[in-house]
Amino acid sequence: MLNIVVCVKQVYDPEAPASLFQISSDGKKAIPPQGTPPVLSPFDENALEAALRIKDIQEAKIIVLSMGYKLAKPILKKTLAVGADELILLEDKQFEELDSYGTAHILACAIQQIKNFDIILCGRQAADTDAGQVGSGIAEILQIPDITLARKVEVSSDKVQVERLMGDGYETVETAMPVLITASNEIGDLRYPSMRKSLAAQKMGVTSWDSTQLGLETVADNRVKLQKLYLPERNSNCQLINGENPEEMAAKLTDVLAGVVK
């Protein structure tokens, strides 16, 4: 049986309107608009879908790992509703503001405790950090190969074949397991859970580990220091082209075009 670990991060809904974001007075925190719900980071949903597609065709156990502080259990239980077997939360006050370096160390430590793993799946980047580092970091710490930007994963006996995106096409990379793979949206959207499974998932228990249970004496220091956050300037001098009808607007627009293109 294959053991698959999927790392799923909880983030504020990235589709919340950008113009309503604010920065805390110390300049260190982004404050999303009020009422923005926490969601699973979108590429992590793709990573989970990749795991489920493997489980569709062969025997596999999927463990979902999520690290943070005061995590929203009902949101994360969606992973159980779609077919993950176990959800482990890594929750500790000290895990709250870790950078990619610290995060990868905590996740790698938890994966080492799980012991049996053939495939680790991450998203290509988290929707809040946009860093794209934690996956490769975990692989380096565990000394296993990593394959980034997967659009398709196929498992055969002890090997995986991964199609990975490139700027102008894709390449197929093969390696023996264990392996870490980062998923891109091209892998496909996460399936919907049935109502029955959603209800059942809410009743399932979850495991929680804090730093002591992970056997960590200290949490790795951040390597990257945030000095300050600010809001980008927006140029809102959009010149609207008006007209009585589409033909008139088209005429005015092509005048603009002619000016730009010449």
């Binding site: 710490i141 951040n222 140029n235």
Partner: protein, 333 residues
């Protein structure tokens, strides 16, 4: 690595299809700025096969020293040998600042290299500036998809960053410049590598590459179907430009994924970007905000894109595109 021993700014040059990729001139320009601010040298690492002319070209872009790994096994980027070379070079040279492009190479190699060197990495930087008191480089990058901008520093050496494409003015070429080309001995031990590239397909994009296009006609979810995308292609063709689109267009399979513009797609900086049926999400605009002129066509007057475009038309694109095409056909070219 000892702070005071670390010296010099190094970037990984990107060699593609027998020549230097565009990002090199941008890396040279920002690298040179930081090197001058620090009063240190700028070096480049060039890995490839048949690279001698390109090494000379790097010198004309402002590089003082080029470390050359010329090996017939290095025709394509592969993460494991690049990782081995780069970590060896960093160990030997102990650079103060290490830059990679935030390109398909840098995105794949950068994080793993940072973890191997046990240092932090600030990805996708849009600005780098040395702070004179501390000698630290301030690294500026978008976070939350671009909803906010963060300024970061790192304590360890090398100070590592990946540089966002099209963010820095390319360095001008000066062919009279002198520099040193040093060949770096490196033997590839294929047996130590665990990954194998078994196949690759270069997607066939006809004509100009999206990243290099001067005019881009881009479509989003508002286009509605693959057939209707053809009409956008017609406009692109008349204007002599390229077609692109939002992630929604790609997810619907109206466009191949290598034509996606945005934070997880291509970063473009054309003269003209025409966005049709695109709402203007921050993740999309991160890929096209460097365009000189952005024209938006959207039927929703409240669409975000009107906060960022230079010209806008509030209209159903189906109604306005046919007359635009008619008029454009009559324009002299």
């Amino acid at each position: 690595m000892e702070l005071n021993q670390s010296k010099g700014v190094i970037f990984l040059a990107e060699f593609r299809n027998q020549g230097l990729a565009e990002i090199n001139a941008e890396l040279a320009s920002v690298g040179l700025k930081i090197a001058r601010q620090l009063g240190e040298e700028l070096s480049a690492v060039l890995i490839g096969s048949g690279t001698t002319n390109s090494a000379q070209e790097l010198i004309s872009l402002g590089v003082d020293k080029v470390y050359l790994i010329d090996n017939p096994d290095f025709t394509r980027y592969r993460s494991e040998p690049y990782l081995a070379v780069m970590s060896q070079i960093c160990q030997e040279l102990q650079p103060n600042v290490l830059l990679l492009g935030h390109t398909e190479v840098g995105r794949d190699l950068g994080p793993r290299l940072a973890f191997r060197l046990n240092i932090g990495l600030v990805p996708n930087c849009i600005d780098l500036e040395m702070v004179s008191e501390s000698g630290n480089v301030q690294m500026t990058r978008p976070v939350y998809g671009g909803k906010t901008i963060g300024i970061f520093t790192v304590e360890n050496r090398p100070q590592m960053a990946t540089v966002g494409p099209k963010r820095f003015e390319p360095a001008p070429k000066d062919h009279t410049r002198q520099g040193e080309i040093i060949s770096f001995p490196y033997e590839i031990d294929e047996t130590s590598f665990k990954k194998k590239i078994v196949d690759f397909s270069e997607g066939c994009v006809e004509g100009v590459k999206l990243e290099d296009a001067e005019i881009i006609v881009s479509g989003g979810r508002g286009i509605g179907c693959a057939e209707d995308f053809e009409k956008l292609k017609e406009l692109a063709q008349i204007l002599g430009g390229c077609i692109g689109g939002s992630r929604a267009a790609v997810d619907n399979e109206w466009l191949p994924s290598n034509l996606q513009v945005g934070i997880t797609g291509k970063v473009v900086s054309p003269n003209l970007y025409i966005a049709i049926g695109i709402s203007g999400s921050i993740q999309h605009m991160a890929g096209c905000s460097a365009a000189k002129t952005i024209i938006a066509i959207n039927r929703d007057p409240e669409a975000q894109i009107f906060k960022m475009a230079h010209f806008g038309v509030v209209c159903d694109w189906r109604k306005i595109l046919p007359p635009i095409l008619e008029i454009c056909k009559t324009l002299p070219r």
